[in-house]
Amino acid sequence: MLALDELLNTDFDLPKIISSSTLNPRMKSSSLLTQLKKARKGKNLSVPDLISIENLTLADLELIFDLTGVFKKFIESGDKKCDLLRGKTIINFFNENSTRTRSSFELAGKHLGADVVNVSGSASSGKKGETLGDSARTLDALNADLLIIRDANSGASFQLSQLTQAPVVNAGDGWHEHPTQALLEAFTLREKFGKQKLTYLFVGDALHSRVFGSQVRLYQKLGFEIRLAAPATLIPKGIENWGVKVFYKIEDALPGCDAIHAIRLQTERAAGKFVATGREYSKNYCLNPARVALAKKDAVILHAGPVIREFDIRTEVLESPNCLVQQMVKNGLPIRMALEWLLISNPKKKINPWK
């Protein structure tokens, strides 16, 4: 069996791994492993969990992006399955509806050869009277090697991560963060722009968006010039501390922008009352061709999905060649493969909080 530690080991024995591997010959297993090894250089994430972008160092980001590139090529080669995580268990613990994010995490785990289990609940455990500690002990009792947690409550993933021995990935917590979604977008931008420091504009509901919560931290780390165009009702307080320049009028914000990200109005999170009507919001903030024309010539259009067509973005813009939404969705898989592998193979183990 392929042990992760072997891969990190300096005297790692390639033929032995190949012999135990079930890799499809279209991309040589040796090639994947060599490339992964080359990209990883024996490095590990500086953190045991992925809760907030805040905790990642620039070196962590580089490591994640480099490995994502390798995994992406591997997927594109036509093969998808390897056994880097064979014998490992990943639990998707989703307390909030999600199909796309959950499937992406699940597929990533399966591509890596892990056993993936989905545990879902309609409400968070707290509402059912279970403490975080009890939830954590239940999850740990399943002997998971990685927990992917989504919860409607901001902080739930962090709080659980403090109580579990298994590493935790925050797959979205309330209005707080959704780090993998931000990372996949940053990777997509890197494919297009390299390491350029971009002028980046958010449009819309920053207040209720956890994706924004992760992106703004990430782009601050990467040295972007960050702008936000939104009505005052949807702007989080203190946002200037993240270096965000705020505009009420989208037309004022667009000139000079390399990238424009439309944030969906989170109507399911009662954001509805923050604007008078969808019509009025859309008239002021929808990304239409005339507005996009104010940005730099090759400015790219981004969206974390699901897109509300003609409301967040006009179809002409969404289907223009500069719209990277499809690439983002594609990149979701390799970025999650990279993270799942990095977190499970991190030799720095968490301390059992119950001992």
């Binding site: 707290g126 901001s154 902080g155 209005w175």
Partner: protein, 433 residues
Amino acid sequence: MKTILIKNGKVVNPLNRRNPVRIADIFIRDGKIAKIKQNLARPGADIVIDAKGKLVTAGLVDMHVHLREPGREDKETIATATRAAAKGGITTILGMPNTNPTIDSQTTVKFVLEKGREEGIVNVLTAGALTKNMEGKELAEIWEMKMNGASMVIDDCAEEQGMGLRRLALEYCKTFDMPILTHPEDADLKDDAVMNEGWAATRMGLSGSPASTESLVIARTLELLREVPTPYHFTHVTTARSVELIREAKKTGLPVTADVTTHHLLLTDEACLNYNTAAKVDPPLRTEIDRLALIEGLKDGTIDAIITDHAPHLLVEKFVPFAEAAVGIVGLETLFALSYTELVEKKILSLTEFFAKLTVNPAKIIRSNRGTIEEGVTADISIFDPKMEWKIDKNKFETKGRNTPFDGWKVKGKTSEVIVGGAPVVRQGELLK
């Protein structure tokens, strides 16, 4: 009843203008302070306490405590709350009426006072609700509650309550000279907020309530008080603007008073970071600017008293996601040490000013004859060792609540002896029973 002689303590009496702090002996007989004098010779005293190097004060008065009994005896009982109070050097506590059933009638007022007498080891007083069942719809029987011993009535603002009823309430309470205490927080502005609005909340993706949630209620209440001046107390104020409004109101002669909690004096909303549910409290912890304004308010007399807002909860209620966690902090056992460390050790308040805010001032607001240390008064006395350094350990609390953000804090000043009504309840830092 045994006689007690307290020797060589540093006696602090804020009411003694000429000599508020002096080394003296105190002789207690028949439950009363018989004599305060230097080098008092009373060789026959049954109990002699050596208070050399210690602070001798009237027992502390905490005018804001959630007793939880009746109704939530799993969180706290009157008995356990009084044990916690005694451990903290507090000899008089005022219970809040948001129990189950609500303290809104003579029957419930009597229940709390009787239970306090039977099972409490310190003095238990109670406030009543301003409106029936605290629903903000109809006035409760305020006169009858007062006749049966309720100290004041509370307008909790938990329910949205019309201004019309509020103005009527002022007139009604004025009629019977019943002081009103309010928790100034506008329910509509607060909405679903779980902490203070600002950078800390933004970083955590939590909804916050603006400072105006509080100052707005104070401002509109002051407008009503201009027309109907009657004793009115704003409890646990938290914002700079609130302090400003109350300062101005006092200048114009309105009969208003205010208090602040230890946690608002020591912490800001940054204490909630990392989803620390122990720091989730109502009203929420605010910013450093607000905290400094509260300290300024204490110094210049705008804020009259320091309280605990002791609010015990079950472990399970805090061991959930932040937004779902219960609000409240326990404080009876940390009131003195935290405020002494912050205010006296840092030379923000003099000993006299400090003890005034923990004894005579709150006693005056709730119309209690306790909280003073003079010849002839009932002997409620606490003795603190101001040099003793210790570490707060929530697992050693007498209260049933373990919800404190101060666990593990190193503080200075510890309860040494407590005497209630002339009888010792704490000796050398330990409860007697």
